[in-house]
């Protein structure tokens, strides 16, 4: 079986299936109605205790925000419409409680699934989750909570949502395999940041894995062995050992500069989502933060984060970096990242729609709050501000104007900040790349976002598995755009970096060096590998190689 390797490392362990198959529920006629109602009430109170426990566990182990989902589940458990209707069904139809509850649950799930709003569709999942728990308790079967034994295991799932992962005992996860998803899906990003080997997008074949099967896989290459023969298992174990040896070798690059054989230096920095990622950043010796994805501050909650909340998060990262640069990107939602409480419209082409800076320039309250928080935090380190999804000059000018207003307000309020904070923009839309000569006069730095740049340049949806083979980071058109941006940036003397997935790709790094990028920002776990690769390159040779790649037409 094969999938897409998205997080390196070799995993060997027992399969743990996430989410059991739905239990079959049959309609049964019952005689003792009172007893059936009593059964339902007991199952409800049992469920309530379980959810309370999950709430406490998550609150203690992860945080209050992550635990919030279980409060919502408790409310569903108290819901008179669901459980009142189920009771009524038992009375009127003399049926078993599980069947009555399943019927009512299905009815509501249907309503929510048909709403044209992502937030509402997620609520359908909550109802299934809660009623499923009660039904399990009614039937005396084990609840769907994932149990990972002491020796650890490999999680096998259709896909994982942020709330799934919040519930898991992450230390015991040896590996991760999912049916859906690609390199940039949540499961993949999470696996990389936790340094867990992972393979995603296996397709339906994943269903052949049974709980307890011995699995061995390579999170780089993507092949999964199910109950392998002794020999294969041994070779996997050997590979695991080799991998760990290499990992140790990479550790020798800690504290060194990122420099080619012929002395050309680049800055290798890290992409992060939350201050929690800082441990990994420091461990892998990042030379800065090249991309702080602030949208995670806005996700998995019901309301916008306040200015102070944001300020604390930005300040924490700036302080931990001790004066090294921290590029904070303003809110980038929309596209594939929804914020239910913003009620973003359902769009035909979300990636070409109402997202990122477009939302911020429209809902300026949200934007100003974030800018205030970032500007205030600039007093605590080398913070740089970056605007995403700029497609034309007018947007940049508007964004800068709002920033100016925010700074003036802070001056009037006698709040101290770094007046020379650098301001840059992402280059992820072809129009911005093509006009980069003009943009370079208006900003202090560029950072190329390759994920979007590739999909916009080649018209290939990066989440669509059927055309995944067309999503090509080595497409000559993309390479040419990158080259243009670097040259235009350097003509105006500004730094040109890259913060997309390409920046950490071992095959891409030589070309990026050859094209003269000043900074590469990547997932923290790939930093030392990148430094090692760079240490073996010669700039002169890579320039030639980059030139050839940009002219390589297959």
């Amino acid at each position: 079986m094969k999938g897409i390797g998205v997080s390196p490392g070799i995993a060997v362990g027992k399969a743990i299936l996430h989410k059991n198959k739905e239990t079959e529920i049959y309609k049964k006629e019952i005689k003792d109605i009172e007893k059936e109602i009593e059964k339902l009430k007991n199952a409800l109170s049992e469920s309530k205790d379980q959810i309370k426990e999950l709430y406490e566990k998550t609150k203690n182990e992860v945080g209050e925000d992550e635990a919030e989902i279980f409060r919502a589940h408790m409310m569903i458990l108290d819901d008179p419409e669901i459980f009142g209707k189920a009771e009524k069904k038992i009375y009127e139809m003399k049926v078993n409680a599980e069947w009555a509850l399943k019927e009512v649950s299905n009815m509501f799930v249907e309503i929510f699934r048909n709403m044209d709003n992502e937030y509402m569709r997620e609520r359908a999942a909550d109802i299934i989750d809660v009623t499923g728990r009660v039904i399990n308790n009614l039937m005396g079967s084990k609840s769907g909570n994932l149990f990972i034994p002491e020796e650890g295991g490999i999680i096998v799932a259709k896909d994982l949502t942020p709330s799934d992962t919040a519930q898991m005992d992450k230390e015991k996860i040896l590996g991760l395999i999912t049916e859906e998803g690609g390199k940039t899906s949540h499961s993949a990003i999470m696996a990389r940041s936790l340094e867990i080997p992972a393979v995603v997008g296996t397709g339906k074949e994943i269903e052949s894995i049974r709980s307890g099967d011995i699995l061995a896989f390579d999170g780089d290459e993507g092949t999964i062995h199910i109950n392998p023969a002794q020999e294969t298992l041994r070779s996997c174990m050997d590979k695991k050992e080799d991998y760990e040896t290499l990992k140790n070798k990479l550790k020798s690059f800690i504290g060194k500069k990122s420099r080619t054989k012929d002395g050309y230096e680049v800055e290798i920095s890290a992409n992060i989502g939350t201050p929690d990622d800082m441990d990994s950043v420091l461990k892998h010796d990042a030379e800065g933060i090249g991309l702080y994805r602030t949208e995670f501050l806005y996700m998995d909650r019901d309301t916008l984060p306040t200015e102070d909340e944001q300020f604390e998060a930005y300040k924490k990262v700036a302080e931990k970096m001790e004066g090294k640069p921290v590029i904070i990107r303003t809110l980038d939602v929309g596209g594939d990242k929804d914020l239910p409480y913003l009620n973003l419209p359902n769009e035909e082409n979300p990636f070409l729609g109402y997202r990122a800076i477009r939302i911020c320039l429209d809902q300026t309250d949200i934007f100003k709050t974030q800018l205030r928080a970032i500007v205030r935090a600039s007093a605590y380190g080398d913070i740089k501000l970056m605007f995403p999804m700029i497609s034309g000059m007018e947007e940049l000018k508007k964004a800068k104007k709002i920033l100016k207003t925010v700074k003036e307000e802070l001056v009037n309020e006698h709040i101290y900040f770094n007046e020379n904070m650098k301001v840059g923009m992402m280059i992820e839309i072809p129009s911005a790349a093509i006009m980069s000569d003009i943009f370079a006069k208006e900003v202090d730095f560029f950072s190329i976002g390759t994920n979007d740049l590739i999909q916009y340049t080649t018209a290939v949806d990066r989440g669509n598995k059927d055309i995944a083979h067309l999503y090509n980071k080595f497409h000559p058109a993309v390479l040419r755009l990158i080259k243009i941006v670097v040259e235009n940036g350097h003509k105006e003397g500004i730094q040109v970096g890259m913060c997309g997935e390409s920046a950490g790709d071992p095959d891409m790094i030589p070309l990026l060096i050859g094209m003269g990028l000043d900074e590469l920002s990547m997932s923290p776990v790939t930093i030392l590998k990148a430094r090692q690769i760079i240490s073996e390159l010669k700039m002169k040779e890579m320039e030639k190689k980059a030139q050839q790649a940009a002219n390589c037409f297959m």
């Binding site: 409310m75 819901d79 008179p80 509501f108 937030y119 309301t303 239910p340 009620n343």
Partner: protein
């Protein structure tokens, strides 16, 4: 409980959602929590459909976003207080 017929009118009034989120997420749960404090039966009426104010799934299934109008209707011993309290909550914009 009052006898049927003693009271012909129940309490009701119309409100408009002003907050950004509408009656979703946190505001919806705040609303249900507030409604559940009262003994009266409380219904929300929008476009001739009725929703149970004490049920989170019912309220969410209304799908009421910003700018939506609906009627709060309560019947029972504390109907006046219930309608008033819910009106204030909606008009406060749920603290957003």
């Amino acid at each position: 409980m009052l006898e049927k017929g003693v009271r012909a009118i129940m309490k009701q009034l119309e409100v408009v959602l002003k907050n950004k989120t509408g009656l979703h997420a946190r505001p919806a749960s705040q609303f249900v929590q507030e409604a559940s404090k009262y003994k009266s039966d409380i219904k929300l009426i929008r476009e001739k459909n009725e929703y149970n104010a004490k049920s989170i799934v019912s309220i969410l299934s209304m799908g009421a976003g910003k700018g939506i109008r609906f009627i709060i209707q309560a019947e029972g011993e504390d109907e006046a207080e219930a309608v008033e309290a819910l009106k204030i909550l909606v008009e406060s914009g749920f603290g957003e």
